[in-house]
Symmetry: C2
Subunit: 382 residues, 2 copies
């Protein structure tokens, strides 16, 4: 594989701006970058300050000491808090554990938290940083492809309510997002594919050249069979798409809703399968297949376009049909409790071209139900 | 007593602006005002939306039904959540109860929460509103004098960490603060005095005319012996002072720190007495006596000025000496864990004139200790 190159994408928000830096082996430079060495006018976190690193046992074992060494070398006082891995721990109780660590280590307003892990660690660390002393600095170091291209950017942080995902949270922008693509080497293949689902999403809703590059690839299902050139495109284009969207709409009042393409039905599937059987990327993949078909049935999208989308999903070895045994009426009920519901109307993001999408509140239960019926798992149909 | 008059103070923040409305019997007009009747260009909360009223049993019993009736009359769907009264319930567990009520009642992003109560209810409802679906509308209806002149304005929300007060929280500005001075009739006298402590604070740090008006009053210790003219001045001047300060400094980077006058030592006293024996206003009163004396000892303030301040505190029947049995060395240690500590240095707000104050990091342990020794309770001294 050719080596990846270092790229910085600026996220320009009305109130604050920050960099997303894609940098192979960047983990070893994190401390220097926070201290501002050459790259920013002033330090992102003042050297000498306290930094609380939050991670899970697997990621910490792999990369924790490198990050700590890098931070210490730049003059930070480093402490850490390790939380169990998994969506089921994305709760207020885990936030209390981070707060306890913040208290024990006497974090001040000028201190920072670093999230080293996937989306769960990023969301929780972000929420803990947002609520400790009413907000301290946050650095995102995503280690899963999904977190790199989605969760680590945009400032959404939070935890799950026992009855629903991400119902509790805050907007809190990071000071820096550091993406070290080399950590993807150790990512389980199923999680890699989940991340590709979000990359495909950007292709469908925003970025036609990305979509076409994904089409041209021989394989998308395994990090070891993706060229470094393609990986660079996937990361850069996805991050740029997200940066474009969130900088135009920080608080999800308008076009940011497009990022929820595939997520409306996706969230319902995750919720009804208890956030265990199906992962987020897989649920989004099924949700995109459903939304694409809904758009076709409503004569808003070409049948050939949805076939091209579905082909990418299949090439990634992601599911395109509903999991076994799921109740379609329950999906329809669950849609109505989604937090994007506006005055009781479910809002769907629908594609209208490759690289173009819009929000529709015209999708009736009848249309959604018919499409979901057509996506029943093969074993149930036969 | 002459009747009070209706006054509106505009809080102009860089991102958002809101009104603080002082209105006798305003409780009955809350619904109409949220709906925008004549007073604002568009509704603060769209009629037909859901409103979750949060209160405690005592306040809800007295005023809950009036507020609900007013909201319903304006077309809102109203639900409520009653939390036990008291600082010891200002915890993440109570936030979870509000979130549960939000879930049960299917609150959406366009819904609102109304805080009807004192500072504890206001802080918790604000934090719950700030974190539900990453932020929904908040209306503050403070029912204690302390909450009216301080906690309900400025957007600070949060709960206590088991080890420290207000360590967990967020900035979340209300859409409206409604102050109905007539509810003070039912406020226990000790809580009224606690509120006067904060009013005296504004006089010392910001507003000389307010200070002089307080000096001219015969009594400050009892709502029933305060003229409506004086009460109007107390509310208006205090709210205007707070509005001035927070609109210049939303996130406590600069002059907002002045509002912490009396609070540095005050927080330590509250913490060391377990938030029960001494209430917030009483602790702030003692803190102001101490800070005033520190300023005098450092030759920054006239001895006669501190005497005038202390006379107001005494006229309010607030304490001017430390509670029995408190350990002065423990106060000094506690100061260092305050969240306003910056790089380990305790920052004191000190007066330098009547109506003028500044932040000093020059107060040594020795000076603070000597002043605290001089404020030991009489029974310990004798």
């Amino acid at each position: 594989m050719a080596t990846l190159t270092q790229t910085t994408i600026r996220v320009n928000l009305p109130q604050e701006a920050y960099d997303v830096r894609i940098a192979p082996d960047g983990l070893d430079q994190l401390g220097a970058w926070l201290a501002g060495d050459g790259l920013t006018e002033k330090p992102l976190v003042k050297p000498g300050q306290k930094v609380l690193l939050v991670s899970n046992p697997v990621v910490f074992e792999l990369y924790g000491l490198r990050v700590i060494a890098s931070l210490k070398k730049a003059g930070y006082t480093v402490c850490h808090c390790i939380l169990p891995a998994g969506e089921q721990y994305k709760t207020l109780a885990s936030i209390e554990r981070i707060h306890d660590a913040a208290y024990e280590n006497r974090l001040e307003r000028s201190s920072a938290m670093v999230a080293l892990g996937g989306g769960v660690i990023g969301d929780m660390t972000g929420f803990a940083a947002s609520t400790w002393l009413r907000g301290i600095a946050l650095i995102q170091v995503p280690t899963s492809l999904l977190a790199m291209v989605d969760a680590s950017m945009g400032g959404k942080t939070g935890v799950n309510h026992p009855k629903g995902k991400n119902l509790i949270g805050a907007f809190h922008q990071p000071k820096l997002v550091l993406i070290d693509p080399n950590v993807l080497k150790t990512l389980p293949v199923r999680e890699f594919r989940a991340g590709v689902a979000e990359v495909i999403k950007y292709g469908v809703i925003w970025d036609k050249p990305l979509f076409e590059k994904l089409e041209a690839a021989e394989r998308l299902d395994d990090y070891n069979h993706v060229s470094s050139d393609l990986l660079q495109t996937m990361l850069e284009h996805s991050c740029r798409a997200k940066a474009d969207v969130v900088s135009q709409d920080v608080k999800e009042a308008g076009i940011r809703a497009l990022l929820n393409y595939g997520h409306t039905i996706g969230h319902a599937i995750e919720s009804l399968t208890g956030y265990s059987e199906i992962n987020h990327g897989e649920a989004v993949a099924i949700g995109m297949v459903a939304a694409g078909q809904i758009a076709v049935d409503m004569k808003l999208w070409e049948a050939s376009a949805t076939e091209r989308q579905d082909a990418l999903i299949k090439k990634t070895e992601l599911p395109t049909r509903l999991p076994n045994g799921i109740n379609i009426d329950e999906i329809l009920v669950s849609l109505k409790s989604d937090k994007k519901v506006k005055e009781g109307t479910v809002r769907f993001v629908l594609p209208k071209g490759i690289g173009e999408a819009f929000v529709s509140d015209m999708v009736t239960d009848k249309i959604a139900k018919a499409v979901l019926e057509s996506l029943r798992s093969q074993s149930e149909v036969n």
